[in-house]
Symmetry: C2
Subunit: 182 residues, 2 copies
């Protein structure tokens, strides 16, 4: 599919609700379980997504629009959430993510981006020259990557419980990952 | 995690809402796109889940409870949905899945399963001897496997659109799969 701003927004707007449906009120084993040392729980993923709203996607878009390619993006700290207190409830994190995502999309709509805007270029600190459209498409895929991660991490809590079905449920063999880079 | 009936139900009950949040009303490219020849779109996944409610999970549990291991489960037709008319709306499929899942969980609760029930055995046509607890755990993991699939298939529609970010978004390199077996 070609990138279309409205189609991208349609997916970005759904992510908080999808994660809320998967996670709000689930027993702690599902929310805090991970895939082993160095990997993230669903709780950590929501914290990471909140940091993305604060420091990654819209701030980078703003750099492209206001400063252009001469000003590289700040590197994104993917693990910032791991250094925060872990005592906030998962529901509080889901609320904050939904609120911040709503603000991000309101900003995006307020910009009334044209095809010329979407073709503007910025400089990723590692990936080099990218367009605004590529940044926004990466935001969508990054969301979906973390949805797969949450579902995979939850599934793995039952790796032993499924017994012989393990041979049929390939998600249980998917590699553990700390989460997509941006 | 050990299998706990109430914790399993907590996840099974969420799947229709999670998939609705991800898919209801999305543009057709997201709903009907797949990962290439022989793979499933999100639309196909919802059809598959409906067939699972009708002929797979609760019917197999009933065989264990009423007939025991002497009566093997019927093989499950994973691709039944591909031979049906494809003109029902995705929203109609999401509604049907939600309704049937609600009925399935009502049946499950009505059985008031004890640990002794959960230890009862049945015979999978390929995997051999399994317990009722393993069947119910596999149902949970099967749901989550398909949630990962829906998010992965959606993400892949933007494989080109993300440009240089492709190197960072590992979900785009995850293998295509027609869907978990049961």
């Amino acid at each position: 599919m070609r990138f279309e701003l409205e189609e991208a927004i349609a997916v970005l707007a759904r992510t908080p609700e999808a994660l809320r449906a998967m996670l709000a009120g689930v027993p702690a084993g599902w929310a805090r379980g991970d895939e082993g040392s160095g990997t993230w729980s669903p709780y950590a993923v929501i914290g990471h997504l909140i940091h993305g709203e604060k420091t990654d996607w819209i701030p980078r878009a703003r750099i492209i629009l206001e400063q252009g390619p001469a000003r590289p993006f700040n590197p994104f700290d993917r693990e910032a959430m791991l250094r925060e207190p872990q005592d906030r409830s998962l529901e509080a994190l889901l609320d904050e993510f939904e609120r911040r995502r709503g603000e991000s999309l309101a900003t995006l709509r307020r910009w009334k981006l044209t095809p010329a805007h979407l073709a503007r270029r910025g400089t990723h600190p590692a990936l080099g020259s990218v367009t605004l459209a590529q940044l926004l498409a990466a935001w969508v895929v990054h969301d979906l990557d973390h949805v797969t991660q949450v579902a995979r991490v939850m599934a793995k809590q039952y790796t032993e419980a499924v017994g012989p079905w393990r041979a049929y449920l390939s998600v249980l063999d998917d590699r553990p990952e700390p989460g997509a880079k941006s």
